[in-house]
């Protein structure tokens, strides 16, 4: 029954199926299950990062290309929506224009970078993306007249997507524009994820895997490897940009730190690796665990620190200020124990 929407790519592990269903249901009913501004913020961020990480997996896990420009494409989409909303005024047209323009700009830039560097060696591509991404980040922060510089841009989105738009109550939860906005993000992300799942399971996706396995032979059986790599790069960039647009619609703010920073790039890399490269479902698990840890580890540690107050040393170690240290420890452990990612581990049994 679910074969077609999942493109025949079933989770192939009972535990994984359960985990994915739990995440899907939790995200689908987040406003009702976890009322509150902060939890809805987290849920929306998880949705968006699932798509962002999945689009990166298309590149890293399926095609075997390392890129450091994924946040740049993410940022292009976000700034597309922001700039369109600022200059065209509040409205649906601005959101659509910004999203489409951002995705097209991302794909075009990916095409240029790809054609320029993927002909040579995949490693050259990694270096070029790093350079271009840094240049764009600097440009955005310097051209403050256009982009708002380090302060970023605030803008208005259609009233129907803001908390001011009230529709009444359901199960004790206020139905307002923020909730509609969340479902816009949720369904858009669900569709994008299923689209990516279809792409990696299409004839094209098989060629990408062949290229990752053995590009020499892929060329020798008649595939123009460069074009496949470039196409994958463009697709991945466009999807990342749309994720950025959704992020901008959700936050009603864009700034270099939230969309373009190199920290987010590293986060994406870690989420792919933790979840499991080349699996798509890894993006779901990786993004969920990572974003939850980012948002709640600190408070969890605060609680733990207080609970252990009577003991020596331990409360200091568990101090909320040390949360980054523990996040780091978690990563090292997960990469050590799950070298093929969580999905790889679950699929291999045990």
């Amino acid at each position: 029954m679910l074969t077609r929407p999942l493109s025949g790519d079933k989770p192939r592990s009972t535990v994984l199926t359960v985990l994915l269903l739990v995440i899907l249901v939790a995200l689908a009913l987040a406003p009702f299950l976890f009322p509150g501004v902060r939890s809805l913020e987290t849920a929306a961020r998880i949705c968006i990062f699932i798509v962002l990480v999945a689009s990166y997996d298309l590149l890293l896990g399926y095609t075997g290309i390392v890129s450091f420009a994924h946040t740049m494409f993410f940022g292009l989409g976000a700034y597309g929506v922001a700039l369109a909303s600022v200059h065209m005024g509040r409205g649906w047209g601005a959101l659509l224009t910004g999203t489409v323009a951002g995705a097209l700009a991302a794909a075009a830039l990916a095409l240029v970078i790809g054609l320029f560097s993927l002909r040579v060696r995949a490693i050259f591509f990694a270096m070029i993306t790093l350079a271009v991404a840094s240049a764009v980040a600097v440009l955005v922060s310097q051209m403050s007249g256009l982009t708002g510089g380090e302060d970023g841009l605030n803008y208005q989105i259609p009233r129907e997507l803001t908390p001011a738009f009230r529709l009444g109550e359901l199960f004790g939860v206020r139905i307002n524009g923020k909730l509609l906005n969340y479902y816009l993000v949720f369904f858009a992300c669900l569709i994008l994820f299923l689209l990516l799942l279809r792409i990696v399971n299409s004839p094209f996706g098989r060629v990408l895997q062949a290229i990752r396995e053995n590009d020499f032979r892929a060329e020798a059986i008649g595939y123009r490897v460069v074009w496949y790599r470039v196409t994958a790069t463009c697709l991945s960039a466009a999807v990342a940009a749309i994720a950025g647009s959704l992020f901008a619609i959700w936050l009603r703010y864009v700034g270099p730190d939230t969309t373009l920073s190199f920290e987010i790039m590293l986060d994406i890399l870690l989420m792919v690796v933790i979840g499991g490269m080349g699996t798509m479902y890894g993006a779901v698990l990786g993004a969920t665990i990572f974003v939850l840890a980012q948002n709640y580890l600190q408070s969890l540690m605060g609680v733990a620190s207080e609970a252990t107050e009577a003991l020596p040393l331990i409360p200091n170690l568990l101090d909320p200020d040390r949360w980054l240290l523990w996040l780091g420890v978690l990563f090292i452990l997960s990469v050590y124990f799950f070298p093929t990612g969580i999905v790889g581990r679950l699929r291999s049994g045990r």
Binding site: R4, I199, P203, R206, E213, A218, A220, Y223, R224, T231
Partner: protein, 254 residues
């Protein structure tokens, strides 16, 4: 009147001061199996690499069905009908046996850019791939990962992938190398079958003299990168050139 499918004209490649393939001029005709022999390091595989495009020629030309393809990419030559199996097994190790062959057929049918259809829904690709796998008796291992196959079965898959490509020019580089005595006949029988197809030409690099004796219509001998002999198998094998080349003695009058 036989059709010439592949020609090399003065084909040369130099690596630094070393001439690996030295002005080889040779034509390959439809319906013919040409064995390429020569001692180790004679340039047989390099000659193959030049023809299929993995190495760029220093001088000379390669013509495929009359068209100059010397500067054409590997993928493009393949699309024009040049198919090659490799001496060192060269597969997609993490994919299944079936997927390896399907990828070849998919390339041949130009379906690689199907972005939004499910790969599994292209039933005709699977059927075709299974038919090819049956010919090399690998159909029972269709869902096995290639990296888990025995060496002999990997060699068979290598041959299956070339057959799936359905090229006009078949290039086999020691197809039975490392195969057990019971496995080799499957591959050799297949090559013998391909010979009946009179639209194709087969190039075969091989060391085993009994294989050459049964399969070859013609033998060319490479020695130090140059064409040392060319002709009827019985004649060439009896000639001094071959005897000396295989004895490893220095050739004085090439």
């Amino acid at each position: 009147m036989t059709q010439t499918l592949l020609e090399t004209d003065g084909l040369t490649v130099r690596f630094g001061g070393h001439v690996a393939v030295d002005a080889v001029t040779c034509a390959f005709h439809a319906g013919q199996l040409t064995a390429i022999v020569g001692p180790n390091g004679a340039g047989k595989t390099t000659y193959f690499n030049l023809i299929s495009g993995q190495i760029a020629a220093t001088a000379g030309t390669v013509r495929l069905m009359g068209e100059d393809v010397t500067r054409t990419s590997v993928a493009e030559r393949c699309r024009k009908g040049l198919g090659r199996a490799f001496q060192l097994t060269n597969l997609f190790p993490d994919l299944t046996v079936l997927e390896n062959v399907r990828l070849v057929i998919q390339a041949h049918q130009r379906k690689g850019f199907g972005l939004f259809s499910m790969a599994e829904s292209h039933v005709e690709l699977t059927t075709h791939a299974m038919a090819v796998l049956e010919r090399v008796r690998l159909d029972g291992l269709r869902d096995q990962k290639v990296s888990e196959l025995s060496h002999g079965n990997q060699r068979k898959l290598e041959v299956a992938m070339l057959i799936a490509l359905d090229p006009a020019v078949y290039m086999f580089d020691e197809p039975t190398a490392g195969m057990s005595v019971d496995e080799a006949p499957v591959v050799l029988d297949l090559i013998a079958e391909l010979k009946h197809d009179t639209d194709r030409t087969i190039l075969l690099v091989e060391h085993k003299m009994d294989v050459i004796r049964t399969l070859a219509d013609r033998i060319i001998v490479l020695h130090n990168g140059a064409l040392a002999a060319d002709g009827d198998p019985a004649e060439v094998m009896a000639s001094d050139v071959v005897q000396e080349a295989y004895m490893g003695r220095e050739l004085t009058d090439v």
